[in-house]
């Protein structure tokens, strides 16, 4: 059942969707529109990364902001302090996230279900507090990117968002391929076995701790890469914007809304939630009264109550009937 990742492109609707996505920014030369597209691909990728450990392996993490923040800080701090290209910072950030994931994983993977979830939550709270009080990374004040000439080496552009769009698109496609391949590989079956029944998976000879660690490492690495991208895109980070519980929760919400444990789920979830939250923020956020979040909260509530199986469940149902 091992299939090549590229088999995904043989499905015409996948290819068409990707081409349409690539073509979309040219339909409207509007900076808000480009921003929404970039955020959509970023959060779809983040959710895809979370899905590896949270959806496929069934270990719900509320602490992915930790990895996102590590990636974001690695890119900007190394650029600012050591003039290191953010591309290198991105890889170092990914490496650091894997190390942190493994360090956290050893004690935390003994825990099951809710105990695991609350522990990841505690880890994220600790990380946010530490970064907020760490002078080397400017603590709670936040870290602005140094002003450097724009271009591919410095990973920054001021006048246009199009290069960011291409990078986000590349990330989106690569991670989609990884998820697709993983879903159909031996590893994917191990993950799902662990999710279904821990004991049964052990009984079949799967080293559950090892494979949960593998899932966590893959997930952490990809999340950190997204974090570095975000830092270079916004060019300013502080603990609330990259390490807060809100980020962790947003990633979980998108995946669950779309359908956890499926490859298409994170994309569907992001396609609904990101334009919704970004546009309601652009249109209603100016009032400063949180109207955008009222709409956002009400919609999440509405969808979960009337579509409890997630959007994937809805599509499958309509597909069958």
């Amino acid at each position: 059942m091992e299939t090549s990742a590229l088999a995904l492109f043989k499905k015409p609707w996948v290819l068409i969707t990707l081409l349409v996505l690539l073509f979309l920014p040219f339909t409207m030369n509007n900076i808000h529109f480009h921003h929404v597209l970039i955020m959509f691909m970023l959060f779809a990728t983040l959710s895809q990364a979370w899905n590896v450990i949270g959806g496929f392996a069934g270990q719900v993490s509320f602490g992915h902001a930790t990895f996102f923040g590590i990636g974001a800080y690695a890119a900007l701090v190394l650029l600012k302090r050591y003039d290191l290209s953010p591309w290198v910072g991105m890889l170092i950030g990914g490496g650091c996230a894997v190390i942190v994931a493994v360090l956290i994983g050893y004690p935390v993977f003994r825990l099951k279900g809710h105990y695991f979830a609350i522990s990841t939550f505690a880890v994220a709270e600790i990380a946010e507090r530490l970064f907020a009080n760490w002078d080397f990374v400017e603590g709670a004040i936040g870290l602005p990117a140094p002003v450097l000439p724009e271009g591919w080496i410095n990973f920054m552009w001021y006048k246009t968002k199009m290069p960011y769009f291409y990078i986000a698109f590349a990330l989106f496609v690569v991670v989609l391929l990884i998820a697709y391949k993983m879903n159909r590989s031996r590893l994917g079956f191990y993950f799902r076995a662990i999710k279904q029944s821990h004991e049964a998976a052990e009984g079949l000879g799967i080293d559950t701790t090892k494979y949960k660690m593998v899932a966590m490492a893959i997930s952490a690495f990809l999340t950190a890469i997204c974090g570095s991208f975000y830092a270079q895109y916004i060019l300013f980070i502080d603990p609330p914007s990259v390490l807060s519980l809100d980020i962790s929760i947003k990633i979980v919400l998108i995946t669950v809304l779309g359908g956890a444990g499926t490859v298409i789920g994170p994309i569907l979830g992001a396609a609904i939630l990101i334009p919704l939250s970004e546009y309601s923020r652009i249109l209603l956020g100016g009032t400063g009264k949180g109207l955008d979040l009222i709409v956002f909260g009400a919609l999440i509530l509405f969808i979960s109550v009337y579509q409890p199986q997630g959007l994937v469940g809805f599509l499958r149902k309509t597909g069958k009937s």
Binding site: R110, A117, A298, I300
Partner: protein
């Protein structure tokens, strides 16, 4: 180290801890019976505090006298939440209930912000006021003492209800095995609604008592909610006794951390303690 300071820390921590415990008991009850993480629990607390505040500032009813009204309102909100939201997601995959309660929490928090602005508000001139009791060089704030004693009393009442009454037996049966309980003629729907109402009533009491000395703002529920989750996990999910002791422990560790290390890190220390204990006892202090 001075004995007095140590004693003072123990007492202040204990008082705060008893309130944390009551909030956590409400959460662990819902968790234990329905296996649902109620992410809106902290927002329920915020609502209770605001109700208490408004009754004081609009109609001059002291938070202490309006307590029964606040509790009744929160009980109703709990029951309403069950019928309108939770009931519809009970049979969905586990994460859907989380999505629903999270949506609810965002909604409540921002509605509060929309109608009541993000200002910090406090009740001034309540009966308990800012009085302090002093004995043997130890200072105990009266509203905190009352809040702690009230919380302990309610925690005991909840315990009594669950373990010593017929209704409690029905709730425990539903928690153990929903289908069998249903076969035994227990009205699961009513039991679940009651449990959610009770969870709401617990934060109703806690919120009304907190209002005597704490300030309220739309996101006040965030911190209390997070602490409640950690308390519940530390005590062992669904375990009322566990939540009670874990709450006290967290109160004391938080106060001691604030004094000995730094107020900035007091909650960080609580989280570190949680991780250390949970890695030794993976199912919480009182888990089995």
């Amino acid at each position: 180290m001075d004995m007095e300071i140590l004693l003072q820390i123990l007492i202040s921590g204990l008082l705060m801890g008893l309130i944390f415990a009551l909030i956590a008991v409400g959460l662990t009850l819902i968790w234990g019976v329905m296996d649902i993480l109620n992410f809106a629990h902290g927002e329920f607390l915020m609502l209770a505090m605001f109700f208490s505040f408004w009754m004081f500032s609009l109609w001059a009813i002291d938070p202490l006298w309006s307590l029964p009204i606040t509790v009744a309102l929160l009980f109703a909100i709990g029951v309403g939440t069950y019928y309108l939201v939770i009931k519809k997601v009970l049979n969905a995959p586990g994460l859907t209930a989380l999505l629903a309660t999270f949506g609810l929490s965002i909604l409540i928090k921002n509605l509060a912000q929309f109608f009541w602005t993000p200002d910090f508000r406090q009740v001034q001139g309540a009966i308990l006021g800012e009085k302090t009791l002093s004995f043997f060089n130890l200072n105990v704030s009266l509203p905190e003492l009352v809040a702690a004693c009230g919380s302990a009393l309610i925690t005991y009442l909840v315990y009594y209800l669950i373990f010593r009454t017929k209704t409690g037996r029905a709730i425990r049966a539903a928690a153990l095995d929903r289908d069998t309980a249903l076969l035994m003629g227990i009205n699961i729907d009513r039991v679940y609604a009651l449990t959610f109402g009770l969870g709401g009533a617990c934060v109703g009491v806690a919120g009304a008592l907190l209002m005597n000395f704490y300030y309220v703002f739309p996101s006040v529920g965030g911190l209390f909610g997070i602490l409640a989750f950690v308390t519940v996990a530390l005590g062992g999910f669904g375990n009322i006794t566990g939540a009670f002791y874990a709450g006290i422990l967290i109160g004391i560790v938080e106060t001691a951390g604030g004094v000995f290390i730094s107020p900035v890190f007091k909650y960080t220390i609580v989280f570190v303690m949680y991780l250390v204990i949970i890695s030794i006892r993976p199912k919480g202090l009182f888990g089995w």
